[in-house]
């Protein structure tokens, strides 16, 4: 991979930029879906680092998204009078808000991860599930964040460029981390914690690292989401939203980045296509997922994994 990875990242960002230049002529609906796809990709790929590569089971990814989204939106709303959305300051503010959202989510991830990552499997799932609900309730009751109505009138700053670029960065970070001698530790922890520990790998350290990095990108995705939808409601970040991303990871094949990206695209676009079927939409969607799991439990896109011996 080496410098090839960096070249790939640069290329992806250039493509995102060029495409974004023509986005004014795109159908607004499709453009919106494309941005959704970018956000889903960020969420699923970052969750894959936790649930797939490192083998933990987090059900709280939407919680981190909420933390990032609400704090970032609060920041832009507070400062938007001095930095109008279209100006250079406005864009700079948006970038700062994204990083701010990512950081607050990462710090939350650290606070949640340190005590709970000693737990394994089902127990960790329950703790992260509880955490996600707490986050939602905190935003629901906090006047600063608009209580139950949430935040409205968030400036529309998320363009196709930002969604796609951040998605590319997320893929780059996760792929580069895992495909290194350092990163083999994540998979070692996934395979056998006791053996990993005996080989000098600190399982807690790796798990917390995965958790914090995953939470950071979920936070950035939350910021993108907030400045895309322009409205944030605490209800939108319930348990079901976390499940959506878990499904993407499982469907794509745990620990297979390429598969998870395809699953994220598919599961974001599919419900949109099914809109024509109105009330049957969610039934068809659910049936498809059940069928896929029965036919390909290892993940839709989990082909024979080629061993990565060169990085």
């Amino acid at each position: 991979m080496n410098s090839g990875a960096k070249r790939w990242l640069l290329l992806a960002i250039v493509v995102a930029f060029v495409t974004s230049c023509f986005s004014a002529s795109f159908n607004r609906y499709y453009l919106g879906v494309a941005i959704d796809v970018g956000i889903s990709t960020i969420m699923a790929v970052s969750l894959n680092l936790i649930n797939g590569h490192t083998g933990q089971f987090s059900l709280g990814h939407a919680g981190f998204m909420a933390v990032g989204g609400f704090t970032a939106a609060r920041l832009t709303l507070t400062l938007s009078s001095s930095a109008p959305p279209d100006s250079a300051q406005g864009i700079a503010l948006f970038v700062v808000a994204m990083l701010f959202g990512g950081l607050t989510a990462a710090i939350t991830g650290l606070a949640v991860g340190l005590p709970s990552l000693r737990l394994r499997g089902d127990y960790l799932a329950i703790v992260t599930l509880g955490f996600g609900e707490i986050i939602r309730v905190v935003f629901q009751t906090s006047e600063t964040f608009g209580a139950a109505t949430g935040l409205t009138g968030i400036p529309k700053q998320t363009t196709l460029f930002w969604a796609m670029s951040v998605a590319a960065v997320t893929v780059y970070v996760v792929a580069c981390l895992v495909n290194s001698t350092y990163g083999r530790g994540f998979i070692a922890v996934h395979d056998d914690e006791v053996a990993a520990s005996a080989m000098g790998i600190s399982p807690t350290r790796y798990k917390v690292t995965a958790f914090v990095i995953g939470a950071f990108f979920a936070g950035v995705a939350g910021a993108l989401y907030a400045h895309h939808k322009q409205v944030l409601k605490p209800d939108g970040f319930d348990f079901m939203k976390s499940i959506d991303y878990v499904v993407m990871v499982i469907l794509g094949g745990m620990g297979r980045t390429a598969g998870v990206i395809i699953a994220a695209v598919l599961l974001t676009v599919l419900p949109e296509f099914l809109r024509g079927f109105a009330e049957y939409r969610m039934i068809i969607y659910s049936l498809l997922i059940i069928a896929l799991m029965l036919l390909r439990p290892q993940g839709l896109f989990a082909f024979q994994k080629k061993s990565q011996t060169r990085s």
């Binding site: 410098s3 998979i187 395979d191 520990s197 080989m199 790998i201």
Partner: protein
Amino acid sequence: MSMPLLHLDQVTIRFGGLTAVGEVDLTIGANELVGLIGPNGAGKTTVFNLITGVYQPTSGAITFNGQTTSQLKPYQLTKLGIARTFQNIRLFASLSVFDNVRAAVQVHRDHGIRNALWRGQAFRDGEAAVEKQVMELLEIFDLGQFRDEEAKSLPYGNQRRLEIVRALATKPKLLLLDEPAAGMNPTEKAELTKLIRFIKDKFQIAVLLVEHDMQVVMGICERIAVLDYGVKIAEGTPTEVRANPKVIEAYLGE
């Protein structure tokens, strides 16, 4: 003998009312090959787990290389130079043969996240050095040709060998082998005996061998300690131990 590499001083561990290991003394010198034997349930694996930091002793002290090791976690002890294999093989099942060893090499490198993300010259040099180191180890143990195969697809004997290679990749001063001959046929056992002696000489390390198979232990160990009901009942050369009436009563004799 100069300063011992590993020293267990009156080490005791109790689980509730049960004294699993009681006041055990054990000393291993650098580049010594010591065997630990005893009937089922004698506390051999518990001693293993105490040395590797899985359990903390209730009383007594363990020193390694002049340093007290209580309160250290297994991964910290690996850094100090204690490596182990497992009674029931515990390889990283979804990683390739190469990557299993690669994950273990990481312990003495400080190439972290930043390096992996930036992918500059330092990262490339580091990864090339790792590859060289891993391949050298694999070649020594004739596993080079399997580098890209999944660890779990190897035949049993090779999995055992790979586990030893993985432990050696952490550059230990002391290697603990937990029943390495379990499930092996006589030919494989003979090969294993040769392998253990080879490792000791080639890498100049100390080896502590927990083993059921008397042939293996008596054949290669310079010194043997015998445990029974968590207490050390004898210690000496294979010939001495074999002649010890207590040992015969507890373990060998009918």
